[in-house]
């Protein structure tokens, strides 16, 4: 089977762009990615794309050109981008096509997401009683983890401080000012133990990737960034997810753990072989817990890792080198592809002030979201 290569990347800056729709940003990202790959829209044989709240991706053919290609819309919550990538990768790996596009975009209103109980198969009282908030879930998963594994609030602050510091050097990031740890720790509490600087915000943005077979990538002549593995998984029994009125006493694994294992197995490498990682950081605790769920450290070791700066640029395993969701915000449909975009930038050595030193060869990305979906992609060059 042919390797799948990422031959073009495009991003529309994350944050807020009042004059543009989500689709506008998706089209802009697609055009940038085509230019980066040195191909034109009529060269593209198929596309997968989606948004969570900004409409159907396939409508962008009226802007890019009605070439009649197969364009499949993806709507898979926080794993929308990852699912588009997994599907596009499969189509090339199967030999059906040799040049395609994966695109994700979104535009959300300000403030916390405001889901309705009925849309999640939940009774109305759950929302009426004030229990249906994603922020509560993140805080409670973290509180439990901190109590069991000895994670301090200072470690939470260190993660946010690192994110903002990295984002200073990421042109596509939303919040690009450093924030010192004391400000982070003493800021307004949103949902204990998480202050406002420790949460990401719903945002806007778009990312597009041009994917090619190995033969096609060689023909195009750019750097060979290989998609060694991509895996998407849903939750197993006993996992702890958002909007759960009750949990099983017998605790189980997570969608993340399963997606991670599947991706490492397919790539034939392990966590110790990864040079740079982008991990879902809806809030700082998610980054900490996901370090362990993805196999990079044991539960509790994050305390030492953060204190020693091992996840900073230049550390043993730089994590969220563009500031992650904390600094970029979270446009649901685009977020997972932003991580892959950032990894391609790092593997090409184009990271500028945020470039991971020593010529990274392998990169890992992990997205997680409601109601228990996760997608992992491993790149190498």
């Amino acid at each position: 089977m042919s390797d799948v290569c990422i031959v073009g990347i495009g991003i529309h800056r994350f944050g807020r762009t009042p004059d543009l729709s989500g689709l506008d940003m998706g089209v802009a990202a697609a055009r940038t990615a085509l230019g980066d790959a040195g191909v034109a829209w009529p060269d593209i044989q198929f596309a997968y794309g989606g948004s969570d709240a900004s409409g159907n991706a396939d409508t962008m053919v009226s802007r890019l050109g009605m070439t009649g290609i197969q364009f499949i819309n993806v709507k898979n919550g926080c794993a929308t981008g990852g699912s588009a990538l997994a599907s596009a990768s499969s189509a090339i790996r199967a030999g059906e096509y040799d040049l395609g596009l994966a695109v994700g975009f979104d535009k959300h209103p300000r403030g916390a997401f405001d889901p309705r109980p009925a849309e999640w198969g939940l009774p109305e009282w759950y929302g009426e009683a004030g229990l249906m908030l994603t922020t509560q879930f993140f805080a409670m998963k973290l509180t439990r983890y901190m109590a069991l594994h000895g994670i301090s609030t200072r470690t939470l602050g260190r993660v946010a401080e690192k994110s903002f510091l990295n984002a200073v050097h990421a042109p596509h990031a939303w919040r690009r000012e450093p924030v010192d740890i004391e400000t982070i720790l003493s800021a307004q509490m949103v949902s204990d133990p998480l202050t406002k600087y420790m949460f990401c915000s719903p945002a806007e943005g778009a990312v597009a990737l041009v994917l090619a077979s190995e033969a096609k990538a060689r023909q195009l002549g750019g750097p060979m960034i290989r998609l060694k593995a991509v895996a998407m998984r849903t939750r197993p029994a006993g996992s702890f997810e958002v909007f759960a009125p009750s949990l099983d006493v017998a605790r189980g694994g997570s969608a993340t753990t399963n997606a991670s294992l599947a991706a490492f197995t397919a790539a034939g490498i392990g966590p110790e072989d990864i040079d740079v990682a982008q991990l879902q950081d809806t809030e700082v605790g998610a980054e900490i817990m996901h370090m362990a769920e993805n196999g990079f450290c044991a539960d509790g070791e994050q305390e030492e890792w953060l204190a020693e700066g091992r996840t900073r640029i230049g550390g043993r395993l730089p994590v969220n080198t563009d500031g992650g969701c904390i600094a970029c915000g979270e446009p649901i449909g685009a977020s997972g592809l932003r991580q892959v975009y950032e990894n391609v930038v790092q593997l090409r050595g184009d990271g500028g002030g945020r470039q991971v030193p020593n010529d990274p060869k392998t990169a890992y990305s992990h997205v997680y979201g409601a109601p228990g979906v996760s997608a992992v992609a491993i790149l190498s060059r």
Binding site: Q136, T143, A147, P193, P245, L247, V249
Partner: protein
């Protein structure tokens, strides 16, 4: 004739028993034995038998809701006071999500023993509705 206020309406039917020592009503899967809360209704409900859950448990995790949730769906008054929520482990049964009451935020601690009470949830328009909450075991209330 003594004029007594009418008792508050439960936030939903079938969640808890209305008595001095209230109990939550869970559902036990008729095939697997798995216990969930609340007891499923409708087509899914046919696979579960309602059971009364333990009244006492331990705090599995917690947080404090510091900002007012959006309405709808939140029923509470516009004037907002932060409240604690948690997951409470009912031994060998199920871990339930609940409001926490009668406890200082800085006294919340994973593992602390708790018991179920019914809690009036005031509304700006209309009478309070009755929801469930857990409080530290042994709190005395006059």
């Amino acid at each position: 004739m003594i004029d007594t206020p009418s008792p508050a309406r439960p936030i939903a039917p079938g969640l808890f028993t209305d008595e001095a020592a209230p109990r939550l009503i869970g559902g036990r899967n008729r095939d697997s034995g798995r216990i969930v809360f609340p007891c499923p209704e409708g087509a899914e409900g046919e696979r579960y038998e309602p059971i009364l859950l333990a009244r006492q448990g331990t705090l599995w995790s917690w947080t404090v809701q510091r900002f007012r949730p959006k309405t709808p769906p939140y029923l509470g008054p516009a004037a907002f006071e932060p409240f604690a929520v948690g997951y409470v482990e009912l031994a060998d049964e199920v871990i339930v999500e609940s409001r926490l009451t009668d406890v200082a935020f800085d006294a919340l601690d994973v593992g602390m023993p708790l018991e179920l009470v019914l809690l009036p949830l005031p509304q700006d328009e209309g009478p309070a509705v009755l929801t469930f909450a857990f409080r530290p075991t042994g709190e005395s209330h006059a």
